[in-house]
C-alpha cells in the first residue's frame, strides 16, 4: 500500500509532491487527499497502520485530526477513492490517493497506447507492507491436499502470474517480474511495517478510535 499521486497535476502547479506523511497536514496540500475507511477497506486499514507506525500509538490520532482539518475525504472502498475522487485516472479532483505500489504499472499496462511514463507515481515514505496470504484451516481432514495447493500457489509459474492478474508482487524470489513492473513499479526499499500479532490484537481498538476521531 502506498500513496499515489497524479504526476501531471503536481507538475502543472509547480507544487512539490509530499515526501512524508507529515506533509499531508500542510495547508498547501489542503483538500488533495482521498483515503478509504479502514473498517471497510484493506488499503484503508494499511494506511491507518502506516500512520500508527509513523506517529506512534500516542500520535496517530492527532495526525488524523489534522488530516480532517486539512479536508481529507474518506470513501468506503478502494474503487470509489481511486475512480471517483482521484484525478490521476479520470473522475475525481484530488491528486493524492491511498492505493498500491503496483497501481502505476497497471495504469501503463491497461492504457492504449501504452505511455512511456506512468501517469501516476508512488510516495515511497507512505508505503506500508500489506501481505495477502493463503492459509490452511485448523482441523482440516485434508491437510495433504491443502499443502499441495499451497505449494502450487508458491510455485514460480503461479507467482509469475500474480503481478498482471492480481497486481501484487510475488513472494517467491525466483519469480521474475513482468517488464511493465520492472520499468514502472517502485519497490519501496524500507516500507513501514507492524508486527502481525500486534495488528491482530489491536486492530479493532484502532479502528474504533479512528472511527470516533474521523467520522464522528
Amino acid at each position: 500500500m502506498c500513496l499515489n499521486h497524479d504526476v501531471a497535476w503536481f507538475e502543472d502547479r509547480d507544487l512539490a509532491v509530499p515526501s512524508d506523511l507529515e506533509d499531508l497536514t500542510d495547508p498547501a496540500y489542503e483538500g488533495l487527499l482521498a483515503v478509504q475507511n479502514p473498517a471497510t477497506s484493506s488499503p484503508g486499514l494499511s494506511f491507518l497502520l502506516a500512520t500508527i507506525e509513523r506517529f506512534g500509538e500516542d500520535g496517530y490520532l492527532d495526525f488524523w485530526e489534522d488530516l480532517v482539518a486539512n479536508d481529507v475525504v474518506v470513501t468506503d472502498g478502494w474503487s470509489e477513492a481511486y475512480y471517483d475522487e482521484f484525478s490521476g485516472t479520470g473522475g475525481g479532483d484530488r491528486p493524492l490517493v491511498v492505493s498500491y505500489a503496483s497501481s502505476p504499472p497497471a495504469e501503463v499496462f491497461f492504457a492504449d497506447p501504452q505511455p512511456d511514463e506512468a501517469p501516476t507515481g508512488v510516495i515511497e515514505a507512505s508505503c506500508f507492507r500489506q501481505v495477502e496470504f493463503v492459509g490452511i484451516l485448523d482441523g482440516t481432514e485434508r491437510r495433504a491436499e491443502a499443502e499441495e495447493l499451497v505449494d502450487f500457489m508458491l510455485s514460480t509459474t503461479f507467482q509469475e502470474d500474480l503481478p498482471l492478474t492480481m497486481f501484487v508482487f510475488p513472494v517467491n524470489e525466483r519469480a521474475e517480474l513482468p517488464e511493465v513492473f520492472v520499468e514502472h513499479a517502485v519497490i519501496p526499499s524500507d516500507p513501514l511495517e507492524l508486527d502481525p500479532s500486534v495488528i491482530g490484537e489491536q486492530r479493532e481498538t484502532w479502528i474504533e478510535a479512528w472511527t470516533a476521531t474521523v467520522l464522528r
Partner: protein, 545 residues
C-alpha cells in the same frame, strides 16, 4: 395444496439458512446468549443507526410515491411516441449495480456536474457551487432513481386496466381532475400503491451500496452495520442481533401493510390498450411534459453518464473499451471472456424468472382461492426476503445448504438466491388481477364440466396473461441485477454481469474502468431489450368477457 411449493421453497432457501446463521451468531455453543442482545439494543450507536435507517426509508418511500405515481399515470394511461421504450428504460436502474450508479450520481452531484456548469453559464462567477456528494439528499435522490420503476410498474399495471368510464362519469358529474383522482382512482389503486410502498420501504430500509457510496462513511443503515460486523469484524453475535432487529422492523412493516390491505377488493378490469389515449387538452400535455422531464432528469441522466463513460478513451471518444471488452482476448481481470458473463446472466436470470413465476404464481393463486390465515401468512412471508440483508442470506446459504443435498458448490444457488428476491414481485403483480376475476366465471366453467386445470387455463390465464408478463419482465430484471447475495454464491468461473463489473472496478487502470462502464451499458441494454420483448408478447388479453 397450492402452498406446498412456496412453503418448501421459502423454508429451504430462506428460513433454514437465515435461522442457521442467526442461530450460530446468537448461540455459538447451543445456548442463547441474551447478554449480546441486551448489549446491542441499549448501545447508543446501534440506536442512532436504527433511527437513521427508519427515517430515511420512510422519507425515500414517500418521495418515490410522490414522484412516481404521476409517472405511472403518464406511462400507463397516456399514449405518446416512444412510450414503450421509455417504460423499459425506467426499469433499467433497477438492474444496475449500485457501485456503478453511485459513481454516475457522484459525477452528477459533484462540483463539476452539468448543473453547476449551467449555473456558471447563467450566473457567471457568482454562481454557487452545488455539491451534494456525501449528503442525505444524495441518498434520497438515488433511492427515488432506483425505485421509480417499482411504483410505475405496480401502480401503472393496475391503472392501465381500470375502467376509464368510472373517471369519465365523475368528470361529467362535475368533479375536478383532482377530485376524480382522489375519490375514484385512488381508492381503486390503493392495493397497488400499498404494495409498491411496502416494496420500496423494504428496499430502502435495507439499502446498502447507495448509503455507503453516496452518504459517505459517516452514515450507516442496519444493513451496512450487518455487513461490517460479518465481513470485517467477524462479530457474528452482533451481526445476528442486528439481523434480528432488521427482521422485527420488516415484520412490523409487513403487518402494517397487511392491515392496510386486508379488504381485498374486487373490481372490473378492462384491456390495457383500450384505456390509453394521447393527451388532448393543454393540461394533459403539460402533465405529460412534466413527467417526461422528471424521467429525463432523474432516471435517464445517470444512465447517460454511464453510456458516455463507456466511450471515453485516452484521446477523446471511441470504441476502445467495447473492443477490449468484447473482441480482445479474455481479460486477465475477468478470467473468462465477457461474453460468458453475459451468457451466465441470461441463463441464471431466465431460470430465476421461471422459479419465481412458479412459486409466486402458486402463492398468488392460493391467496386468491383460500382466505385462511395461513395463505395470508405465506403471502406476507414471501415478502420478508426483500427486507433481509443479502449478506445474511448469502452466508446462511454457505453454512446451511449442505444437507440434505450439498448445494453449496452448485451453480443452482445463484438463480435460487435471485428468485428469492423476485418472487414477491410476482405475487404483488398477480394478486390484484387474480382477485379481480369474478368467481362466478370460474364457477360457471366448473358447472359446465371443466376440470380445475382447465378453469385455470381458460378463465384465469387469459385474464392474468398481461400481469404474468409484467411479472416475468420484472423478475428477470431483478434476477439479472441481483448482486448482494449472488456475489456470495457465484462461482469464480461463472461470474454474472454485475459480478464482472465489480471485478473490473476492483483493479486499477483506465481500461478496466472503461470496460466496467461498457459492461454496465451492455447490462442496461440487454435488460431494456428483454423488457421490450416481453412487453410485445401476448398471452391472451384482458377483458375478453
Amino acid at each position: 395444496m397450492l402452498l406446498v411449493v412456496p412453503v418448501v421453497f421459502l423454508g429451504w432457501f430462506f428460513v433454514w439458512p437465515v435461522t442457521s446463521i442467526v442461530g450460530l451468531g446468537l448461540a455459538p455453543d447451543g445456548e442463547v446468549e441474551l447478554g449480546v442482545l441486551a448489549r446491542a439494543l441499549t448501545d447508543q450507536s446501534v440506536r442512532s443507526v436504527a433511527w437513521f435507517t427508519l427515517w430515511q426509508a420512510v422519507v425515500s418511500t414517500v418521495l418515490t410515491l410522490l414522484v412516481a405515481i404521476p409517472g405511472a399515470y403518464a406511462l400507463s394511461r397516456q399514449e405518446f411516441p416512444g412510450r414503450r421504450a421509455l417504460q423499459a428504460a425506467v426499469t433499467v436502474p433497477f438492474v444496475l449495480p449500485t457501485v456503478v450508479v453511485g459513481s454516475a450520481f457522484l459525477a452528477l452531484l459533484g462540483p463539476r456536474s452539468p448543473v453547476n456548469a449551467a449555473l456558471v453559464a447563467v450566473l457567471g462567477d457568482a454562481a454557487p457551487t452545488l455539491d451534494l456528494r456525501r449528503t442525505v439528499t444524495a441518498i434520497l435522490l438515488a433511492h427515488v432513481f432506483f425505485n421509480y420503476a417499482v411504483v410505475v410498474r405496480t401502480v401503472g399495471g393496475l391503472w392501465s386496466m381500470l375502467d376509464p368510464r368510472l373517471e369519465d362519469a365523475a368528470r361529467v358529474l362535475g368533479a375536478s381532475r383532482w377530485r376524480t383522482f382522489r375519490e375514484v382512482s385512488l381508492p381503486l389503486l390503493s392495493p397497488a400503491i400499498a404494495a409498491s410502498a411496502a416494496i420500496v420501504f423494504l428496499f430502502t430500509f435495507t439499502s446498502f451500496g447507495v448509503v455507503l457510496i453516496l452518504g459517505g462513511p459517516g452514515r450507516a443503515t442496519i444493513e451496512v452495520e450487518i455487513h461490517r460486523a460479518t465481513t470485517q469484524l467477524l462479530d457474528l453475535p452482533l451481526a445476528s442481533t442486528l439481523a434480528l432487529l432488521q427482521l422485527v422492523a420488516v415484520l412490523s412493516a409487513l403487518a402494517v401493510y397487511g392491515h392496510l390491505t386486508r379488504r381485498a377488493q374486487q373490481q372490473r378490469l378492462v384491456a390495457a390498450a383500450s384505456t390509453r389515449r394521447p393527451p388532448r387538452s393543454r393540461a394533459e400535455r403539460w402533465f405529460l411534459g412534466t413527467n417526461l422531464a422528471v424521467i429525463v432528469v432523474l432516471v435517464l441522466s445517470p444512465l447517460a453518464v454511464l453510456v458516455e463513460r463507456s466511450f471515453v478513451t485516452a484521446t477523446g471518444y471511441g470504441l476502445d473499451n467495447w473492443r477490449r471488452l468484447l473482441v480482445d482476448d479474455p481479460s486477465s481481470v475477468l478470467a473468462v471472456p465477457a461474453g460468458e458473463a453475459v451468457r451466465n446472466s441470461l441463463l441464471f436470470g431466465t431460470s430465476a424468472t421461471l422459479v419465481a413465476l412458479v412459486v409466486g404464481g402458486l402463492a398468488a393463486t392460493a391467496a386468491t382461492v383460500g382466505r385462511g390465515w395461513i395463505t395470508g401468512a405465506v403471502d406476507r412471508a414471501l415478502m420478508v426476503p426483500l427486507g433481509t440483508s443479502a449478506v445474511t442470506v448469502g452466508f446462511g446459504f454457505l453454512i446451511a445448504l449442505d444437507r440434505p443435498l450439498d448445494l453449496r458448490g452448485s451453480p443452482l444457488l445463484v438463480p435460487l438466491a435471485q428468485a428469492l428476491i423476485a418472487t414477491p414481485f410476482v405475487v404483488r403483480t398477480l394478486l390484484p388481477v387474480l382477485r379481480s376475476i369474478d368467481q362466478r366465471l370460474r364457477d360457471a366453467a366448473a358447472v359446465l364440466g371443466a376440470s380445475p386445470l382447465r378453469v385455470w387455463r381458460e378463465v384465469d390465464l387469459p385474464i392474468i396473461g398481461r400481469a404474468l408478463l409484467v411479472a416475468a419482465g420484472f423478475s428477470f430484471a431483478i434476477a439479472v441485477g441481483e448482486f448482494g447475495a449472488t456475489v456470495f454464491v457465484a462461482r469464480a468461473n461463472l461470474p454474472t454481469m454485475p459480478v464482472a463489473i465489480f471485478r473490473l472496478l476492483g483493479r486499477p487502470g483506465v481500461a478496466n474502468f472503461g470496460q466496467a462502464m461498457a459492461m454496465s451499458t451492455l447490462l442496461a441494454a440487454i435488460t431494456a431489450a428483454a423488457l421490450l420483448a416481453i412487453d410485445r408478447l401476448r398471452v391472451g388479453s384482458v377483458g375478453r368477457f
